[in-house]
């Protein structure tokens, strides 16, 4: 499973050692963080709705077909 992380904010994030400036995206095999400001998209699930396993009470999963992206939010 690959993940595409996009930084929609004005800040620069350092995502698992990679610098992610405003508007930039990066692909990772594994995600080791939870960051509400970053948009996370599962790359291999582009042709169907996906459900994301999460113990997070405040997570949100959106349909890839209807929204074009999927987002995980919330906190550990």
């Amino acid at each position: 499973m690959k993940y595409k992380i996009t930084n929609p904010t004005r800040r620069t994030y350092i995502v698992q050692g990679h610098q992610l400036k405003c508007g930039e995206s990066i692909e990772l095999d594994e995600i080791k963080f939870t960051e509400p400001s970053l948009v996370v998209e599962k790359i291999e699930s582009k042709h169907k709705n996906v459900e994301t396993k999460s113990s997070n009470k405040k997570s949100e999963v959106r349909s890839l077909e209807t929204n074009g992206f999927e987002k995980h939010i919330g906190e550990e």
Partner: protein, 201 residues
Amino acid sequence: MTDRTPAAYFPEDCVITIHRKGGTAQTITTEVTNFSDGGGGKDTESVVHFGGAYLTVKKSQEQFEVNFDVDVNDTTWSQVMSYDVTTIGSATMVTSGGTQLPYKIKLEWLDSEYPVSVGNLPGAVGAGFKIIYYNAYGVSYEKDNAADNYLTGTVGFKVEPADQNANGQRYEIECKDFSETSGSGSYVGWETIADTLFGYI
């Protein structure tokens, strides 16, 4: 090895990042107007004895206090005080009453006379100095907006000198010459080791 340490480090040399444990590091450099580091005092007490003798009693070290004056244009600093955060699309809500989560705070000054890129220091030319706080907790956040000024805030963190296993939580690391690879490698590596130790990956 050549000592390339500059005569002074200036604000334009500095990069400031904060990293919530479990989150990612984010640069806040251009939103900060002032930084101060205080506390951490190590007091001693003098106990006088008969015969003109004095015994010095070393007191425990005080907490470090880190303060930033910042521009306020989002909920980032409220999240420091209460990580009860809900995000839907482009909207984020922070509710008071949430827990304070630990942060890594890093300020790094890289000699602008010999510019180098962060993360690629070994072999580069220049010098650097960084202060890193692990497990800093937000303890105060005050906002201010005068009629003739913009919205600003003052954020305060406190850091214990060491964690529950006596691992020191405040690091100061310098490298006088990045082109000397054993030194520059340690400059980078010591932080990596500490990141692993404290769980900031």
